[in-house]
Symmetry: C2
Subunit: 304 residues, 2 copies
């Protein structure tokens, strides 16, 4: 099935305890689409870049089957540029700078050919742009997932709630789930958030894995303990891209598919953090992905 | 099989965001033995209390089959008394006071009848007392588990390493594993710690579950997401007690048993945090425990 994603395509400056990377490729839609491209042939992006974005990177994405018809290119503008520094505990980071550049006046435009996408992944962006994307679809996609963050809860909660109401899956971290719901217990938070709209709440916990809440059911996916974590940037987007890519490949949306999808998303995220930028998401083999998924099976199997 | 535990039997003052409890029953050996008593008939304690400890509580423990022959009672002394306050994030707490009282001059004495225990759980205590307990055994127990904390790493690392060398299982939290090994990656930390002695490293992550490292294998056990967490005090001890109690009930010590044991330990810990003090560990039914373990199966099951 075809998957559409909207989100940033950007440059990042990254500093982690393991090293630095300057003006490397980043952005939510970049990570999402690369991760999803390992599962489905038809992935398309709605985003914006400046004339400074390397053509070679766009060509690589197209080679991976990612359709860039919805990628607006402002030749005279500069691409969105974010700089961040991670603490020793790589679960925390500080934003060093944010240059919106061409993103400042971005209005998502879904190309005609992508308006029938059955799977829609709304990457972290203004709630207004996320909502506009949904509205441009020919009909309501089979499955809509939304990623967002505390920044939008602080500055645009009203708009955010409008989008949340329209989606099937919401992916946020544990602190954000608490902020959004006003409940400390994630079990209680999930009940509040389900009432806001999403029938699936996926709580991303970084090195502690992910929790999925659906009706009265809960699924806990671990993160794979790794010897080398070099850069957590984009792990959440990669997780979402792997999850939605897998779901689109099944053409189903049930609880069993959702759980397996979260494992695939976690496996993709485990690759992502091993290298800076999208380094590890390029040139992965399907056999490597399957091998890693098997590690998740081993990691969680026990006999009763 | 018979299980011996050494550790504190104490009073706690506890303040959490959910309420306060004053001078309630606590102590590592209390939680460990109560949790283990649901799995094995022969559990014995080596510890010390003052004349102020309620007889009714001792009688309850005996009723649960816990042998108190190794519990020294200083009629003129006061029991160990600890006060702690939890942050809004219940993963963190501050110690408000520590009154060692009779614990100050405690020397563990293993009763003759317990010297042949096949399973030994060394609860958090001075490394010196933990080592002394091992030395008093008739012969090396089949399985020795050690719980400790950063305080002993800061103040008695040399002694602590001597005990660590002699045990099969070490249970600590993630920060402590990093401190002990000097490695941030838990995968690398486990390799360092395995070389110190323990063939099993169990990393307790509170609401994020537990990780077990053994040779080149890893197992991830989730924590059960709960609607109500009232008091995390004793959850780590209860986890260890459930784990060792289950292992003792199997009379085995292999990887498969270890994984299942960690699930049982996690299930017992999930009861523990639902109420203050040992409230929830009293009068549990075997059927309740099995039902909860089934929730862990559901929580982690997925299809590939």
């Amino acid at each position: 099935m075809n998957l559409l994603t909207v989100g940033t395509v950007a440059f990042d400056n990254i500093e982690t305890p393991k090293g630095k990377a300057e003006k490397v490729i980043g952005g939510a839609a970049t990570y999402i689409s690369l991760a999803a491209s390992y599962f489905v042939d038809k992935v398309s992006i709605v985003s914006i870049i400046g004339g400074d974005f390397p053509t070679a990177e766009l060509k690589y994405m197209e080679k991976k089957g990612i359709n860039l018809d919805g990628l607006q290119i402002e030749q005279d503008g500069k691409s969105f540029f974010w700089g961040g520094k991670y603490h020793d505990n790589m679960n925390k980071r500080d934003t060093i700078f944010t240059e919106l550049n061409v993103l400042a006046d971005f209005k998502p435009k879904v190309p005609k050919a992508s308006k029938n996408a059955k799977y829609l992944m709304l990457g972290n962006l203004t709630p207004d742009d996320q909502l506009s994307t949904i509205k441009q679809m020919d009909k309501r996609p089979k499955l809509i997932a939304l990623d967002t963050m505390n920044f939008w809860m602080d500055t645009a909660m009203k708009d955010l709630k409008k989008v949340i109401k329209k989606v099937d899956i919401l992916t946020i971290n544990d602190e954000e789930a608490r902020q959004l719901s006003g409940e400390y217990s994630l079990v209680k938070a999930a009940k509040v958030i389900h009432k806001m709209g999403p029938k699936y709440l996926v709580i991303k916990k970084g090195e502690h894995g992910a929790l999925v809440f659906h009706e009265d059911k809960i699924f806990s996916a671990p993160a794979l303990p790794l010897a080398e974590v070099n850069d957590p940037t984009g792990a959440g987007d990669t997780f979402a891209g792997g999850m939605m890519g897998y779901l689109a490949s099944t053409n189903k949306t049930g609880w069993e598919q959702m759980k397996t999808a979260v494992i695939y998303g976690s496996a993709m995220a485990s690759f992502c953090v091993e290298d800076f930028s999208v380094g590890r998401l390029k040139g992965l083999k399907k056999s490597e992905i399957n091998k890693r998924v098997k590690e998740f099976v081993k990691l969680t199997s026990f006999k009763m």
